[in-house]
Amino acid sequence: MLEIKNLHVSVGDKPILKGLTLSIAPGQVHAIMGPNGSGKSTLSYVLAGRAGYDITDGSILYNGEDLAAMAPEARAAKGVFLAMQYPVEIPGVTTMTFLKAALNSQRRARGESDLDAVNVLKLVRARAKTLNVSEDMLKRALNVGFSGGEKKRLEILQMAIFEPKLAILDETDSGLDIDALKLVADGVNALRAPTRAMLVITHYQRLLDYIVPDRIHVLVAGRIVAEGGKELALELEAKGYDKFVKEPA
């Protein structure tokens, strides 16, 4: 589903990703672990299409298409979803209004008809319940005054509503206490499906206790320096990243 080959990305003049290669098949959950500054967030933003990240070499194929050539909204309509580390607050737009606009934009781009307000509400409410997202949150301005946990829950709610094919979770565990973390992880696990791939980006092993990946990649200084099964997370937790920082593979 996702084929990243020899990806080089710079922000301004500064190279961040320096030859990253990674491929994920449908149904798989991969994790990227790495210390601060290793390029984890850069990778997530490049995949979602944020401006300011220049691909200087390499390629990203998504279902055989050149992902980098697509506008962010086109990627979303084709099933790419990024649960952001820092969801933005947008005063003046209610969460419900935003969800409806986003859902119908994606549907329109795929040539599907709009869902009317009643059906959007039904869909959102059904998904919101399991993620403990209250009616009140849906009525409030998007992310404004939400706690860290509420923001992350809303990201996962969006994932449940948009039903992406490729979901990228960028530091979804940051700022969450253990109860909030479990709730979010349960939400994510419920969305695991044979047709869906996930890329979980995290600094800590903790999240991977709850979202158990099929494969782990260790990202250090813009390159994948180690790969393995879920047991790699425990090793990293015990020994830290130092080994990889000092002896790049």
Binding site: A51, P72, E73, M84, I90, G92, F98, S105
Partner: protein, 365 residues
């Protein structure tokens, strides 16, 4: 000559001696009326003021050719600047409206100014009366409207002015006098013109009087919209708030000039002013100038102004959720304006302003 005719003659003399304001006149610093009008100037024609729909029960009216005593008593007493003197001098007739003491009018009164030339309106709310006024403008003609509003003790006026986008020069001066505990809620939506302007001169003459102003402008092309306010706190415990937001694209020019004067003795006055502008292009321009003049003690006054662009992180967030760029921009522009629309209490009128704002935003994309 009647007193009215004398006042009109005096207005003519004043206008002729002062002439059209230039940009050297402080209140016209950012709007060049003289050059926008060109050779033709303001002219001496009469524009019209009319009611849309029916007159709500309980509201009285008369024309200003043969005004009733209650109208004659106030006509021409509030306005004093050159442009409003011109409307006083040249508008033949005009409309006067009164809500008698203690009457609360539920149904909004709908007023339209139209045509080319000068127009005059006088509105009197007697003590304890209340009214919602919706004022709209037609798109034709160069027009100069002079509006006087008298709010007696405890009266409450909710005023929504929705100015249609025009190609011409349309200016309006609204002069208000508020007695003790009277309250004015004014909302001003504008989509600009060659030069579109609403100037408010609000005198809080009585203890505890309040004026709450809000407004939005959405401007594209070469549109120019100007809101100029002067709120004078003459008595103690008076309050005023102002929240104006502008979105300007193309080569449009948004102006907010707001002056608050707290006179000697107006202790306990409270005033807040906020003006913000969102500029969508390098060539769009905004001049925001809040200003305070304080001669009293123990007052609370705050003001702020900010000019910015759409937040790129917010834009990316919406696009990453599948919302196309132009739609995402419209959502963010609307979100920027939203809190300045909220003060419009009447839902139908807020809906009318929203509709206008959304149409204008679409045309900016």
């Amino acid at each position: 000559m009647t007193a009215l005719e004398l006042r009109r003659a005096e207005a003519r003399t004043i206008f002729e001696s002062r002439g059209l304001p230039t940009r050297r006149v402080e209140e016209w610093k950012y709007s060049d009326l003289k050059s926008a009008l060109g050779e033709a100037g303001l002219g001496e024609d009469t524009a019209y003021v009319r009611l849309l729909g029916r007159l709500p029960e309980g509201v009285e009216y008369c024309d200003l050719v043969n005004p009733k005593p209650w109208a004659a008593a106030h006509f021409g007493t509030l306005a004093r600047n050159a442009v409003s003197e011109a409307s006083l001098a040249f508008a033949e007739g005009g409309l006067a409206l009164r809500v008698p003491a203690g009457k609360a009018i539920g149904e909004p009164l709908l007023l339209e100014t139209g045509g080319a030339g000068h127009a005059r309106v006088l509105l009197v709310l007697e003590s304890g009366a209340s009214l919602t006024l919706f004022e709209t403008t037609d798109t034709a003609g160069t027009r100069n409207t002079g509006f006087e509003i008298v709010l007696e003790a405890g009266a409450h006026l909710a005023h929504v002015r929705l100015a249609q986008p025009v190609e011409t020069v349309q200016v309006e001066e609204i002069a208000l006098s508020l007695a003790a505990r009277a309250r004015y809620d004014g909302h001003f939506a504008s989509f600009g013109g060659k030069l579109a302007r609403a100037e408010l001169i609000i005198a809080l003459e009585g203890e505890g009087a309040e004026a709450h102003l809000s407004g939005v402008s959405v401007l594209g092309g070469t549109a120019h919209a100007d809101v100029t306010t002067h709120v004078i706190h003459r008595k103690g415990n008076t309050r005023s708030t102002q929240l104006f937001k502008h979105v300007a694209g193309g080569k449009a020019h948004a102006v907010y000039q707001g002056k608050v004067t707290v006179a000697k003795g107006a202790d306990g006055a409270d005033s807040r002013q906020t003006a913000k502008a969102l500029l969508l292009s390098e060539t769009a321009e905004a001049d925001l100038k809040p200003e305070l003049e304080i001669f009293a003690d123990d007052v609370k006054c705050a003001h702020g102004a900010a000019v910015g662009d759409l937040d790129p992180d917010s834009l990316f967030y919406l696009r990453a959720r599948g919302i196309p760029e132009s739609h995402a921009r419209a959502i963010l522009m609307y979100a920027f304006l939203e809190d300045a629309l909220e003060p419009v209490a009447n839902e139908d009128l807020r809906g009318a302003v929203r509709t206008g704002v959304q149409a204008a935003l679409r045309s900016l994309l």
